[in-house]
Structure formats: structure tokens, C-alpha cells
Amino acid sequence: MEQLELPSIDYAALLPMLILFGAACVGVILEIVVPRKVRNGIQLGLSLLAVVAALVAVVVERGTRTITIGGAVAVDGPTLFLQGSILVLGGVSLLLIGERTVEKGGAFVSQAAITVGSKKDMEQASGQPGSTEVYPLTTFALGGMLLFVAANDLLTMFVALEVFSLPLYLLCALARRRRLLSQEAALKYFLLGSYASAFFLFGVAFIYGFAGGIQLDKVHAAVANPTQSQVLLYAGFGLLAIGLLFKAALAPFHVWTPDVYQGAPTPVTAFMAACTKVAAFGALLRVLYVAFEGVRWDFQPVLGTIAVLTMFVGAVLAVTQTDLKRLLAYSSIANAGYLMVGVLALNDEGLSSTMFYLVAYGFSVLAAFAILSLVRDADGEATHLSRWAGIGRKSPLLAATFTFVLLAFAGIPLTSGFTSKFAVFGAAVEGGQTWLVIFGVITSMLLAFPYLRVVVLMWLSEPGESTPAVSIPGFLTSAVLGIGVLVTLGLGVAPSPLIDLTRQAADFVR
């Protein structure tokens, strides 16, 4: 029996994740011990505190470049930057999740187990305080995401994927209103998500067969000097990629996105659109840049085609959408395409610009969903486009804010949408992927139309009878809105600090 060598563990580097997982566990316990009345405040405070603490830890560890616990986790520039981004975006999303004043009791159902449409369900719909499980669930998901972007071997990645996916499936099902839709969204998300994880896992198996190990550096070495059949490598890589592309919502693995975004409670949608995207692209970046960099010439055209397809699907389908949440879902698909353009640059510039894009887009999308949550009628949020006609006349400030965010999505200068698009396109041209940029530009033209349609509707149409009232945003939603818009503007006008940060962070350790 040989001596079992214990791997060294750099706890400091793992601290952010530990904090979150710990806080999540504590949250579960609190669910049991804390009386219902005060639970919401405490849970929200705890999760926010955990996020802040984790963020502090990330900031403190900003110089760390290490691989720890036996090669399972890599804490390097991209990890820390993406973790930081996830934490900030997650914290902001938490504010949205914690909003309880816009709608009485919040956006979440009080007891998900109650059958939809039953007598009890009617009762709880009328203002019982929402469930507080959402906080530990969110914290778990955040922890999983932090681990996902740090994962340095494929197993860790798989586990992290599940750790952040499973809470999300649940969160999707917790909407207070339109519960049927919410449940359907959860079901679809869950089934398709598991389906994709299975592909991912099967890919892991193949890669393991090919490389004899699952650490990314091992894969990298094996790709450079293959000892096994290349078919294993390519089949494995293909299957592996599918799991990641699914999470990142790239066509044709985007199919879940519109349904889930529409059905899920709006704060959760916002959370997914902002944070899941960061996590998914973080892992994708790591896998492509660290493990498979050696076969870039082979995967660039395939993934490039996927990127183009994604941009087109997102842009073209957005044109005829009539539901705002669904429209934003397609827009987020198209944005995934643009992100992919940055990823496929496969150079430092690509890495840093993709990270920049993720942050910029995350804030804009949070603001967008925050606004959606404010326009409501008796049945909850009024997300059908026709209901927004002339809203600019009724609530100019809200309409102006939304217009600004839409302009950002359309990539108009002086918004972060422009600088981030510029960054990824620039990186792609530099990386020799001009064709992607050309398609990116063409789809941007298409995509401008649906945004503009909304703007036209808000400002240029006369308000009708059915134009809903706009709720006065609660403090938390105001904060989200404010932060989202300010960051969108700030990154549009003075993106330099963040660009510099992403550039400093753009070095993977292998």
C-alpha cells in the first residue's frame, strides 16, 4: 500500500466559495429555526452578507494565481474576475429577488407545493409572504457558479454545473403568479438541463479515455501529444461542448431559453440572464483556452458556425416577439452569439473582451428585467408588448430608463452595449475571425428593429385604455435599476477602468 499523499489546499483561495456554501447551509438551517415573520429579512441579510464577504475575499485574493486541491480548482485572473462579476451581479440580483414591496409578498410563491388553482392557492396568492427558500437556493447557485468558473478538472466542472443548475431549476418553479407557466418552465429547464448534463458527462468520459485524466492541463498535454485515438478527443470535445453551449444558450441548444425566461419569476430570469451567462461563458473560456487550445483550428469553424447561427436565431426571432420577456430572451440568445465571437478570438484580447462583455451585459439585463417587474396590472406583470403602448407618456422616467437600456442592447455608443460589442468584435478581427464580425454586424442591424419597436411603442404610440399602471419601485428595485443604468452608462462613457481590469485578469494558469 503506497502512502496516500494528501493534496495541499489553499483555503484562502477557496474562501469565496466556502463562504457561500456555508452561508447557504446556514440559510437552510435558519429556514427551520427562524420564525416566518422575520425570516425574509434575516435570510436576505445573510445572503447579501455572504456575497459581500465572498466579494471581499475575492478582492483580497486578487493577486492569487494558483491551482489547488489536487488540481481541481484553479484560482487565477479569469477565475477571480469572473467570480467577482458573478458576486456583484448576484448581489444585485439578490436585491431584485428580495424585493417585497412592488407586489405584496414578493415575486415568489409562498408554498410551491400547493396545487395550482386550489382553494389554498387562491389564499396564498392574495398576499401571503413569499417563500424564503429562494435565498439559500440562490446562494447555492452562486456558490456553484463560483466553482464552475474555477473548475480545473472536468469532474469538478460537472459537479459545479449541477450545483448551480439544480437550485435554478427549483427557483424557476417558484413564481407567485402564472404558476402553471412557472412550473412548465422549471420542467423544461430541468429535463433539458439534465439531458445536456448527460451529454457533458459522456463527453467527460471520452476525454478521460483520450487523455487518461480529467485535469485540464492533462487534456492540454494529451491534445499536444495524443496517445489515443483522435476520435475520442473530438467526440468527447463535441459532447462536452454541448453541455456548456446549452448553459450559454447557443443555437441550437438555446431552445429552452425563451420558454424558461418567460415562465420563470422575473427576478430569477434576471439572475439567470446575468449570472448564469457569466458562469457558462467562464467555463467555456477555460475549457477552450486551457484544455483544447491545441485544436483551435478544428473547432473555430464549427463553433463559429454555431455563433453565427445563434446570432441569427436570436436576432431574427426577436423581430416578431410580442412578449417582452421572451423578446429579451431572444436578445440574450443573440448576445450569447456576440459573446461567442469574442470567445473565438482565442487570444488575450478575446478573453478580456468577453469578460468585459459579460459584466456590461449583466448589468444592462438586470436593469431591463427590473423595469419589467415594475409594469404591472391586476394579473401581475404586464409583459405583452401591446400593453406598453404610450407608456412614455404616463411614466416618462421609466420609459426613458428602458429606452436607454434598449439602446444599450442595440449597441448605440455611450452605452456599455457599444463598448462591449466593440471590444469583442475588435478582438475577433485581431484573432482573424473577421467573418464572425461581419455576421455580428449584420445581425446587429436585424436586432435593432425589435428594440426600436419597443421604443416606438413606448414613446410614439398613444397610450391606450389597457396601458397598465407603473408601480412605484421599492427601494431594492430602485437600487437595481440605478446600479444597472449607471453601470451601463459608465461602461459606455468611461470603460477604461474595467477594460484595464479585464486585461490584467486575462491570464489562465495551466
Partner: protein, 642 residues
């Protein structure tokens, strides 16, 4: 042709020649800007300003005459107009013998017509505006003849076009007047475009647009270039002077008040084409073909004018076609070149007097006949408006060339010159054309005169009260009549000498196909035949309604189908083209764009159906995608792709 053209700088009094343009221009500005505040005295300011220009013109003319004949010119640069790269165009004026006589004609005849207009327009509420436009015209016309380069000429050229437009459509509430003004401007613009391209050629080949430099550089140009240049200038000249094929606007221009017809569409502006060719005489002299074309244009137009003029019943239209025809003579003259340049200018000046005289006479008749213009409804007016009758008679006799009235001295030499073409067939063709024209002129002018002033009265006392015009209108008539009588004799030699510095010394007369005496006799004979025929035909008046007529008369009544031609070839296709383009732009060019948008929308509408909502179909799309991705990778690995 190796002479070099040089102009002496303006000195002394002559450096004030800019005042000639500035005074009427300032007056026009005052009249147009002050609005109704100037209604009471505006017309007098208008008259005064032109009269002042006339006086100044006389002073300058005298000064010019005082200069040595070798340097009898005054060039004055006011300011740099356009100075870009090699293109240097000054806002420059040139007062030389040629522009001198034009200045006197314009301001002299202009003053008289202005004076006349004070009376003629007395009851028109727009009199002040009328004088504003009139002064604007005088300023532009003076600029045209005084410019020292082609750009200045063009400046004035378009300026008179504008004034002409404004005055033709002066009574703008009449649709016919508005249309006529537009037509005039448009056809003029066709000519202007030719002139403009001519200027471009000068700059492209010679790098200048100054008269002197262009003329001196001509020897360096190929024959083709000179030909093209000359033809383009000719197009410009045809447009402004109502020559074939751009003659159609001039008769319509009679929609304007009669003083306008007299000043602009008879005496001055329409002769600008003649001025242009005379001014550019080195260009035309340098190319035989060019001269031939010019002569041909002149001959065709003079016959055309006569023929149509003989068939018209509107007093002003007859006079208008007569103007077309007479300017044809002038074109013939300038086309013949050599000594005929001066002849054309003399005819121009003489024509300025007698045609202005007749137009004003016509105006006087209309004034007395309640704006009736149909000569079939006149007759016996000699008893009612004596002065008008007498002055009109001088004009009539002058134009048909009865010695010793001015027309005789100015037209007959041109006919003679035509017979002196070096190529025999040309001499016969153009000579006979000119001769025939003289006969026809005598015919239709006599017809006009007889039908208007003699024969039975074909108007009724119920609605017509013929009366003589007031003094302010008859005085100009009388003065112009004196000019019509005396001008020819006075000018026939003096002006030719005076213009020698511009056109060069008259070359030795080549012997024509007919002797000079013979031509004189012939032209008098055809004139008498024509006049006699008309007298005998119309002495007893004519039917009030148009009578059926033969092919020739019908054609003449319809302007020899030139209007029909224009309509069929330019107007209608133009309208159809415009309509087609409007359709094309909306449905075609814009349609492509909207089509793309619709296609995206339609594609989007169809594609979104793929999002069926069934989770299993989503799984299928994922599986398909997965198989494609993995398949693509494996294909790449096996070397099937890339």
C-alpha cells in the same frame, strides 16, 4: 487670326463703369425690399435709375471714344469672385466698343420703355413690383454685356433669365402666364447648360474664362475642340435668343405685360445670343463648320419666324415671331463672319428701335382696345389713335426695309453678305433664304399693319372705345419712331467703324454670286411684292373666325408643329418617365428595403413556429445539434472538412 486680344485697364471716369450695373440693381433692391411703402413713388425711382444709367453710359461712351483706337477698352476688376486653384474668376467688367453700344441700347431704349410703362402699368396694383423686376432686368442685362469673362456673362445671362421669368409670369394668377414663364426659364436653362459646358471646356483646355485669354489661347486648341466649344455657345445663344430649335418659349413669353415684350423679348435680352456670338467672334471665325451651323440656324429660324408670323392673329404673337425671324437675320449675320458681325450688330440696334416701337405701339393699341390682342378684331384704328398709327407705320416700314428707314440699312447688307459666301451652294441657299425672308416679312408685317389700322372696323362701339394713349406712353413712341427712321442711316457706317477694334478690320470683299446692286434691287422687289400682296389681300379686312386653310397655313398656325414635337418627344415622355420613376422609387428601390424587412419579419414569423413548446422537440433539436457538432468534429478529424 494671329492678332492678340488685349484690353486696357479702366482709368479715370471709366473706372466707375460699375455704377451702370449698381444703380439699377440698388433701385431694384429698394423697390422689392421696401414693399408697399414704395408704392407711391417706386415707378419714378425705376425710371430714374435707368435714365441715370443711360446718362452715365453716354459719359462713358464719350470717354471711350476719346481713347486711342488701339486701346479703346476699359477693363475693371471689382473683386476676386472665385479663386480656387488655377481657376481665377474676377468680378470684372469690360467696357469696350461692343459693350458700349449695347449699354446705350439697353439703357436708352430701356429708359423709354420704363417711361412708357409708368403709363401702361398705371392701374396695375403691382406696378412697384413691376419696376423692381424691370430694374433687376436692366442690371442683369448690363452685367451680361459688361462682364469681362464668360462667368460674368453667365451671371448676367441667368440674371436676365430670372427677370424674364418674373416679368412673363408677372400676372402670376393667370395659369397661362405662370406656365409661359416657366417654359421660358426652362428652355433658357437648356441653352444655359450648353453655355455652362462651353465655359467648362474653356477652363479644362485653357485654364481661364477671361475673354482675352480665351481668345488668345484659341490657336492652341484642336479644330474639334473649337467646334464643340462654339456649338455649345451656340446652344446657349439659341436658348436665349429664341432660335431654332429653342424658339418655342419666345411667343409664349408675350403673356407678360407689353413693355416687357418690348424691352426684354424684342429689343435687348433676346439679342443676348447675338451678343454672345459676336463677343466670341474669334471662336466662330476660327472654324468654318461652326460658321456654317450658325448661318444655318439663322436661316432656318428667319424663315420659320416669317412663316409662322404670317399665320398668327394675335398682335403680340406676330411681333414675337417677327422677333424670332429678325434675330435669325442677326444669327445669319454673325455666322457669316468677317464684316457681317458689324452688320448683325447694326441690325440688332436698328431692330431694337423699330421692334420696341412696334411692341409699344401694340401695347398702346391694346391699351385703347381693352386688352384685345386679336388683329381680326381691329381695323380702322388709324382714325382713333393717330400717334400710335404713325409711329407704328415707321416701325412697319423700317422692318420691311423700305429705304431710307433703318431696316433697309441694316437688313439688306446681311442679305448681300449671305450671297457672298465663298462656297457657291451656300451662297445661293442662304442668300435666297434671306431674300425670301425679306419678302415674307413684308407680307406678314403689312398684314399686321393693315388689319390693325386700316380696312373696316371689326370691333363694336358697345364694348370697345378706342382712344389714344396718354402722353407718357406716346412720347416714348415718338422717340422710338424717330430712331426707327433715322437709326439705320446714322449707324450704317459709323457703327461698323466703331466696332472694328472688336471684330477686326473688314477684309477684302470676296465677290459674291450676285452683284450688290442686283441684290438691292431684288430685295426691294420682293419686299414690294410681299407688302403689295398683303395689302391687296387684307385691305378689306378678314373673317373674324379662323378659316379652313391649306397644309402650309395650318402648319404655320401650329408653329410648324414644333410645339407638338416638343410635347411628343420631351414633355410627355418626361411626364411618363417621372411617373415611372416615382413608382420605381416607391416600389423598387424602397421596395427592396421594405422587402428585406418584410422577408425578415416573415422569416421570423415562420421560424418561431419551430419553437413548438414541446420539450421533446426541443430535445430533438438539441440531439440533432449534438450529432451535427460531433459529426463535424469527427469529419474534420478525418479530414473530410477543412
Amino acid at each position: 487670326m494671329e492678332q492678340t486680344v488685349e484690353f486696357a485697364p479702366a482709368t479715370g471716369v471709366l473706372s466707375l463703369i460699375w455704377l451702370l450695373v449698381a444703380i439699377p440693381l440698388a433701385s431694384a433692391a429698394v423697390l422689392l425690399l421696401l414693399g408697399r411703402r414704395a408704392d407711391k413713388w417706386g415707378h419714378w425711382l425705376g425710371v430714374l435709375s435707368v435714365a441715370a444709367s443711360f446718362v452715365l453710359g453716354l459719359v462713358f461712351f464719350a470717354n471711350l471714344a476719346g481713347l486711342e483706337s488701339g486701346s479703346r477698352s476699359a477693363e475693371l476688376s471689382l473683386w476676386e469672385f472665385i479663386a480656387v486653384g488655377k481657376l481665377q474668376v474676377d468680378f470684372g467688367l469690360l467696357f469696350d466698343p461692343l459693350s458700349g453700344v449695347f449699354v446705350l441700347l439697353i439703357t436708352g431704349v430701356g429708359s423709354l420703355i420704363h417711361l412708357y410703362a409708368v403709363g401702361y402699368m398705371e392701374h396695375d396694383p403691382g406696378r412697384r413690383r413691376f419696376f423692381g423686376y424691370f430694374n433687376l432686368f436692366v442690371a442683369a442685362m448690363l452685367l451680361l454685356v459688361l462682364g469681362n469673362n464668360y462667368v460674368m456673362l453667365y451671371f448676367g445671362w441667368e440674371g436676365v433669365g430670372l427677370a424674364s421669368y418674373l416679368l412673363i409670369s408677372f400676372w402670376y394668377t393667370r395659369p397661362s402666364a405662370a406656365t409661359a414663364g416657366k417654359k421660358a426659364f426652362l428652355m433658357n436653362r437648356v441653352g444655359d447648360a450648353g453655355l455652362a459646358i462651353g465655359i467648362f471646356i474653356m477652363f479644362a483646355t485653357l485654364g481661364t474664362t477671361d475673354y482675352g485669354a480665351v481668345f488668345n489661347g484659341l490657336s492652341g486648341l484642336s479644330a474639334t475642340t473649337v467646334l464643340v466649344l462654339g456649338l455649345l455657345l451656340l446652344i446657349g445663344a439659341c436658348g436665349k435668343s429664341g432660335q431654332f430649335p429653342l424658339q418655342a418659349w419666345l411667343p409664349d413669353a408675350m403673356e407678360g405685360p407689353t413693355p416687357v415684350s418690348a424691352l426684354i423679348h424684342a429689343a435687348t435680352m433676346v439679342t443676348a445670343g447675338v451678343y454672345l456670338i459676336a463677343r466670341s467672334n474669334p471662336v466662330y471665325t476660327a472654324n468654318e463648320t461652326l460658321q456654317l451651323v450658325t448661318v444655318a440656324v439663322g436661316a432656318i429660324t428667319l424663315l420659320m419666324g416669317c412663316i409662322i408670323g404670317a399665320a398668327k392673329d394675335d398682335i403680340k404673337r406676330v411681333l414675337a415671331w417677327s422677333t424670332v425671324s429678325q434675330i435669325g437675320y442677326m444669327f445669319l449675320g454673325v455666322g457669316l463672319g468677317g464684316g457681317a458681325y458689324a452688320l448683325a450688330i447694326i441690325h440688332l440696334l436698328a431692330h431694337g428701335f423699330f421692334k420696341a416701337n412696334m411692341f409699344l405701339g401694340a401695347g398702346s393699341v391694346m391699351h385703347g382696345m381693352h386688352d384685345q390682342v386679336d388683329i381680326r378684331r381691329f381695323g380702322a384704328l388709324s382714325k382713333h389713335m393717330k400717334i400710335t398709327w404713325l409711329t407704328f407705320a415707321t416701325g412697319w416700314l423700317a422692318i420691311i426695309g423700305i429705304p431710307p428707314l433703318s431696316g433697309y440699312f441694316s437688313k439688306e447688307p446681311i442679305i448681300a453678305a449671305a450671297f457672298e459666301r465663298e462656297v457657291a451652294w451656300e451662297a445661293w441657299v442662304f442668300g435666297l433664304a434671306a431674300l425670301l425672308g425679306a419678302g415674307l416679312t413684308a407680307f406678314y408685317m403689312t398684314r399686321l399693319f393693315v388689319l390693325t389700322f386700316h380696312g373696316p372696323a371689326r370691333w363694336t362701339e358697345d364694348n370697345q372705345h378706342p382712344h389714344e394713349s396718354p402722353l407718357i406712353m406716346t412720347i416714348p413712341l415718338i422717340l422710338l419712331a424717330i430712331g426707327s427712321v433715322a437709326a439705320g442711316w446714322l449707324m450704317s457706317t459709323s457703327v461698323a467703324d466703331w466696332l472694328t477694334p472688336v471684330f477686326g478690320a473688314e477684309q477684302a470683299e470676296p465677290h459674291g454670286v450676285l452683284s450688290h446692286t442686283m441684290i438691292t434691287i431684288l430685295s426691294l422687289v420682293v419686299t414690294v411684292i410681299g407688302a403689295g400682296l398683303a395689302w391687296s389681300l387684307f385691305r378689306r379686312g378678314t373673317a373674324l373666325e379662323p378659316q379652313p386653310a391649306g397644309v402650309v397655313v395650318t402648319a404655320a398656325r401650329r408653329n410648324l408643329y414644333t410645339d407638338a414635337f416638343n410635347e411628343a418627344v420631351f414633355e410627355r415622355p418626361g411626364i411618363y418617365l417621372t411617373r415611372a420613376l416615382v413608382f420605381l422609387d416607391n416600389k423598387g428601390v424602397d421596395g427592396v428595403v421594405n422587402g428585406i424587412a418584410a422577408a425578415v419579419g416573415g422569416g421570423s414569423g415562420r421560424l418561431r413556429r419551430l419553437q413548438t413548446g414541446f420539450v421533446r422537440s426541443y430535445a430533438l433539436s438539441m440531439l440533432t445539434g449534438a450529432m451535427l457538432v460531433v459529426g463535424a468534429f469527427i469529419a474534420i478529424q478525418l479530414g473530410w472538412l477543412v
